[in-house]
């Protein structure tokens, strides 16, 4: 998939502002960003549903404007919100959806059986979807996206609303698909998920791509190796920032703690103690993607 200067406007609002990216076959590629960053608009364009306002987009070497049906036949899409047919049964949801892909009834039936097994919904096959729990609906939506055995799977916040067990089950399945050569495009709010699943990712903010790279490379590039978190008693209204600042590459003061971005957390902690600062507690941890994310997109709530 190749995108050049991809832009999407809704009236005067620019949701996606001329972004470019390439996703080679077999890669798993992530879009990270706060709500309203333009991820979902991007997903709708790369799933050949919404037309870009301007820019170039090619998927499987095809132009979505002319070859939309041919592209979508090879895509699986897990939308952000479950869009199941609540009036139909679990099984009928799958059977009908498979038909949209021109699959014969017997093929769909076979695949539906296997996917129900995967989604742990075999016993609920003849229940109305309306009666499923949130997690079950999510699993069914994911199962549905695999009916046409897609070469490219687009997942818009796939694990939102799943419990940890279901999440790990999905991750396992995604690894398996990836090793079968399926390309994955994922948006997520969960940084651990992005670190686990994505070979490469971009961070979006206000319709722009603000960073791009492999998870580890992004951490190296935008954060330090470790973070030292110091917690101060609640009656200390102003932590001794002046004394701490020289010890860290970057320092962030939060209401209840101070984050010191450093190369070696233990070294810095010793230096902190040596300087006569005594926090209530101290925690040394490795930098995560979350640190990168928050640094790039800010800590303020977006919507």
């Amino acid at each position: 998939m190749h995108a050049r200067q991809l832009t999407k406007d809704f009236g005067t609002f620019r949701a996606v502002n001329g972004i470019s990216f390439d996703i080679p076959r077999g890669e798993s590629f992530g879009f990270l960003g706060p709500n309203g960053a333009g991820k979902t608009s991007t997903m709708r364009m790369v799933s050949a549903v919404a037309r870009p306002t301007s820019g170039e987009l090619s998927i499987f070497g095809l132009d979505p404007h002319h070859d939309g049906p041919a592209i979508r036949a090879r895509l699986g899409v897990v939308p952000q919100e479950d869009t199941l047919e609540l009036e139909l049964t679990v099984l009928d949801n799958l059977l009908m959806f498979g038909r949209y892909f021109d699959l014969s009834r017997s093929v769909v039936r076979e695949r539906a059986k296997e996917l129900l097994e995967f989604a742990k919904l075999t016993e609920r096959a003849n229940d109305k979807c309306d009666n499923l729990s949130g997690g079950m609906k999510r699993r069914l939506t994911i199962a549905r996206s695999l009916l046409n055995q897609p070469e490219l799977l687009i997942l818009d916040e796939p694990t939102t609303g799943l419990d940890p067990q279901a999440r790990h089950l999905l991750w396992e399945r995604l690894y398996r698909l990836k090793s079968d050569g399926v390309t994955l495009v994922i948006t997520t709010h969960y940084m651990d998920e992005a670190e686990q699943l994505c070979d490469r990712l971009v961070v979006m903010d206000h319709g722009d791509i603000v960073a791009e790279g492999a998870p580890r490379a992004l951490i190296t590039q935008h954060s330090t190796r470790e973070v030292l978190e110091l917690r101060f008693p609640s009656d200390v209204t102003t932590p001794p920032v002046d004394m701490l600042a020289p010890l860290a590459e970057r320092l962030e003061v939060l209401p209840d703690r101070v984050l010191l971005y450093v190369h070696d957390g233990d070294d810095t902690l010793r230096a902190v103690h040596a300087a006569g600062v005594t926090p209530v507690s101290a925690l040394v941890r490795r930098s995560t993607l979350e640190d990168v994310f928050l640094r790039l997109t800010g800590r303020t709530l977006v919507d």
Binding site: H65, L84, R99, Y100, D102
Partner: protein, 266 residues
Amino acid sequence: MNSVLRVTPSLSFGSRRSLYILERNIMAYKRQWPVFVSGFFEPLFYLLSLGIGLNSLVGHLDVGGQSVSYAAFVAPGMLATSSMNGGVIDSIYNVFFKLKVSHVYEPVLSTPLDVNDVALGEVWWSLTRGALYATSFIICMALLGDAGSPWVILCLPGAVLTSFAFACVGLAACTYMRSWQDFDTVTLVTLPLFLFSATFFPLSLYPTWLASIVIFSPLYQSATLLRGLSLGSFSWVMLVHVAYLFVMGLVGLSVAARRFQRILAP
């Protein structure tokens, strides 16, 4: 490049894949078959009430030199009305619900189907229902002796054409509805059509000024066409009625498809 292509009017009316929408609707209605039973009884009530009641009051009418019973005169008009209502109500209410409330179409658009297929698929569905109702209506007509001639069988395609015209326009109209309140406007349009389309009495009984408006009414096209078919009195004007209804459907469908695009995949 894309913005140039976007303003080019689309002249495609969906593909073979639109039939999957029909399949989907049949699947969804498997459990709601009582709806169809009411559809079968409705025409019977129409025919019995108007036919028996008014028939005895009115007696016979002269239609193009042919003397026909009032029941035989009014039955094709009722069939036309029933096809109009079926087409409009189906597409407006059901599709509005799917478009704005249950969001049935959104996942469909991530499959090879596109908005044209969705719009056309809903039309197939309306036609299927329309054909079922019309069949039962025509059977009732024949059983009650209200069929003017064996040609009444041609009322089936005529009624389906009527469903097509009104379903397509209904489909386009429903995309402009913002809330359930807007549905009152539907009656505002269909009721005058019902009352002023030579469905109950011949055009010759209208004052001249009104008659010159009535002949442009879409339901007039359908009622006159079906009446001609039922009585077996054919004329070239029928081709005008057919063309009118057909073009009306095509215009409705292409507007609907474009509106679907704006709503579903902006």
